[in-house]
Amino acid sequence: MGLHAAKVLETFKAMGITHIVWLPDSETGFLYEAVTADGSIRLVPVCREGEALAIAAGLWVGGAKPLVLIQNTGLFESGDSLRGLGVDVGLPVVMVIGYRGWLGGQPMTDSAGVYTEPILKAWGINYYLVETDQDLPKMLAAQEEALKTSRPVAVLVGQEYEK
């Protein structure tokens, strides 16, 4: 059990991801180490999450395969980008979102967790929950859905990445 950075990286490679547009959350330390040590996917660090989806849209125009990696609090910050350069333009991108506040299905107390799924539903964004390595095929499914529906699709990561 557990969610291992190396397995996540393997999944990103299987998806053909060329760029990870990201702002680290408190749970991505080992993933950062794995991606930088590997060197085959370019990290695009942003100052604020609202930049991320717009950069991903530009990368997509240029023929790259970007992935957005942010925390749910950053999703809240990205609202207008998600609307204007995600949903409205039909951007087929996977957003991997750290699910701060998730308690494995128990009632949540952190408002960051409480509002995450309702907000995705309000934007009409489908999402998958990933907690262990066994769930990682859902990322590939999310990518397939994004391409098929021409929409952003979210993957909520409910577990810290392990080394």
């Binding site: 942003v46 100052c47 604020r48 930049e51 717009a54 530009g58 125009v61 207008d80 980008s81 333009v89």
Partner: protein, 188 residues
């Protein structure tokens, strides 16, 4: 202070195969002078994100120059993007700022810092390799060929007055269409 239509006409005259990302009022002026609309990526709405959208294209296509036609109010909404761009340092990105000191779309209210904030200084401090300010057409016309040849990122602060001529405001779906048109024009 330059006439914005004439300033953008000068830019258009020096454009070859650059992808251009205009936004807000600049996109309505640019549409009157652009000679290659199939390579234009107008960002309608989503104010503030033109610099980020242009950065994405520049990173994906290092072989192609990208010109962002930002607004001063727009850039203020996404000022951190100066640091993001300065950090990644794409040599093929030129960030023009259509700097009229006001929110023209909403009737001309002054933007914060109009006449005080210094975009050239901010860009340099954020890691841009070059930054210029132009407030007369003659100098802009003389210097532009050299400015667009420099390895970037480069910021060009265009000091312009109120618009004298405006193209129509395109519907929001125009951005979705343009993303696909430019993607097809750039190829895999």
């Amino acid at each position: 202070m330059m006439d914005p239509l004439e300033a953008l006409r000068l830019l258009s005259g020096h454009r070859t195969d650059q992808v251009v990302v205009p936004t807000m009022v600049a996109l309505r002026v640019w549409s009157l002078v652009s000679r290659r609309p199939e390579l234009d990526l107008p960002l309608v709405g989503c104010m503030g994100k033109a610099s980020s959208l242009g950065l994405g294209v520049a990173l994906a296509r290092p072989d192609r120059q990208v010109w962002v036609l930002d607004g001063d109010g727009s850039l203020l909404m996404n000022l951190g993007s100066l640091v993001t761009i300065g950090n990644l340092s794409p040599p093929n990105l030129i960030h023009f700022v259509y700097n009229n000191g006001v929110y023209e779309t909403t009737g001309g209210q002054p933007v914060p810092g109009a006449g005080r904030a210094d975009f050239v200084g901010l860009a340099r401090a954020a890691g841009y390799l070059n930054a210029f300010r132009f407030d007369d057409l003659e100098t802009l016309g003389q210097r532009l060929p050299e400015v667009i040849r420099l390895p970037g990122p480069t910021l060009v602060d265009l000091q312009v007055g109120r618009a004298t001529a405006l193209g129509p405001l395109p519907p929001a779906r125009r951005t979705a269409e343009a993303l696909r048109t430019v993607k097809a024009a750039l190829g895999p």
